[in-house]
Amino acid sequence: MEFIDYYKVLGVDKSADADTIKKAYRKLARKYHPDVNPNDKDAHKKFQQINEANEVLSDAEKRKKYDLYGKDWEHGEARQQYYNAQRQSQPFGNGGGQFSYSGDFDDSGFSDFFSSLFGGGAKRSQAKFRGQDVNATLEVQLSNAFHTHQQTFSINGKNIRITIPAGIENGQVIKLKGHGNPGQNGGPNGDLYLTFQLINNTPFKRMNNDLYLSQEIDLYTAVLGGDLTIDTPHGKIKLKVKPETQNNTRIRVKGKGFPVYKSEGNFGDLYVTYTVKIPQNLTEKQRQLFTELSKL
C-alpha cells in the first residue's frame, strides 16, 4: 500500500484553506468527471483519486488525522500507534481487520490507503450511488459471427451468457444493463459495455456486410473458361469462369456475403477476385506448344 499525497492529487499547498481546496477540487472534477470522459478508464481512476482527496481534505477532522498519521504511514511506530487508537475508539470502524496492500482502488471508489486510514465504512454518506460502468472486450471468431449464437464469458467472477446476433461488427459495442460494478448503499448496478473484437481465421476479408475472397485459377481455365467450386460460409458454390478472364478480375456473387446485423435473411455480397496462376516447371512439350502459340 502506497502513501497517497492528497495535497499533490489536488495540486494544493499543505497550508491551503478550505476555499482553495474546494476550488481545486471543482476544477479537477470538471476535467476528469466520468460523464465528460466516457470510456476513459484513466480519467475515471483520476476522478476517484480527486474525490478521495477532497473527501479527506474538505473534512476538518479527517484532514487533521491525515496530517497527523498519513505522511508517516510507512513508519511502523506511527502506524501501530494509530492502529491501537483505532481499535479502542473505532471512529469509522471496519471491524479492525484486514488491510490490503495493493494500493489500488476497490469497487467503492476508495483506495486501500483511504480504507486503512479511515476504515472501510467511512463512505461519503448513506446516499445511494449507482455502480461504475464497466468496459470489456469479447473476442468472437468471424466464422461464429456469421450465425446468431450464444457465448459465455466471465466478468467480476460472474458468468454471463449472451446471445450474439449474426452480423456483429468488429468494434461494435453493446450495453448490458445492470452488469457493471455493484451500486453503493442499495444504488443500482452500473452497466457493462461490451466491445466485440472479431478474430478472422478465414480466407475471407470482410468490409461491412460484404465478403472478399482472392481465388487462384489456372491459366487454362482463365483462357478457355470453366467451372469452379469454392467454399463459402453459405456452403459450396459453383462459379462459371468466363473464357479470356484477366488476372485480378473481380466478380460479384449477390447475397452470399455476411449477414446484415439484426436483419434476418439479408446478406451482403461476396466478391471473388481471380488470381491467374502461371504454370511452372513446364515440360518440353508444353514449352514447345507455348512457343508455337507465341508465333501465331
Binding site: R26, A29, R30, V36, E169, Y212
Partner: protein, 96 residues
C-alpha cells in the same frame, strides 16, 4: 401503459434535489422530451439517462444549462469521431 414509461418531473427533481425549471430548460435546449399528462410534466423513459447525466453535471460540477448543452454537443461530436475511427480502422485492416 404509457404512464409506466415516464417519470414525473416533480419526482425526478425531488430525487435529484433540483428545481423543476431545470427540466424545462433541458427541454428548451432540445436535450430531452417532456410530455404533459393532466397538467403534470413527465420525462419520457428514453430521456432518463440524459436527464440523469445533466443532473449529475449540474449538481456535482456546478455546470449551468448552457454548459451542459455544450458538453452534450461536444460529446456527441466525440462519439461521431470515434465511430469514424472505428470505420477507418476496419478499412485499414482490410487493405493490410
Amino acid at each position: 401503459m404509457a404512464a409506466k414509461r415516464m417519470i414525473a418531473v416533480k419526482e425526478f427533481c425531488t430525487h435529484h434535489n433540483l428545481e423543476t425549471d431545470f427540466i424545462k430548460q433541458l427541454q428548451h435546449h432540445d436535450l430531452i422530451e417532456m410530455v404533459m399528462v393532466k397538467r403534470t410534466g413527465y420525462i419520457v423513459e428514453k430521456n432518463l439517462p440524459i436527464a440523469e447525466k445533466a443532473a449529475r453535471l449540474h449538481n456535482e460540477l456546478n455546470v449551468n444549462i448552457e454548459g451542459i448543452h455544450a458538453i452534450f454537443q461536444l460529446l456527441s461530436l466525440v462519439e461521431k469521431k470515434e465511430q469514424e475511427i472505428i470505420q477507418l480502422r476496419r478499412e485499414l485492416e482490410f487493405y493490410k
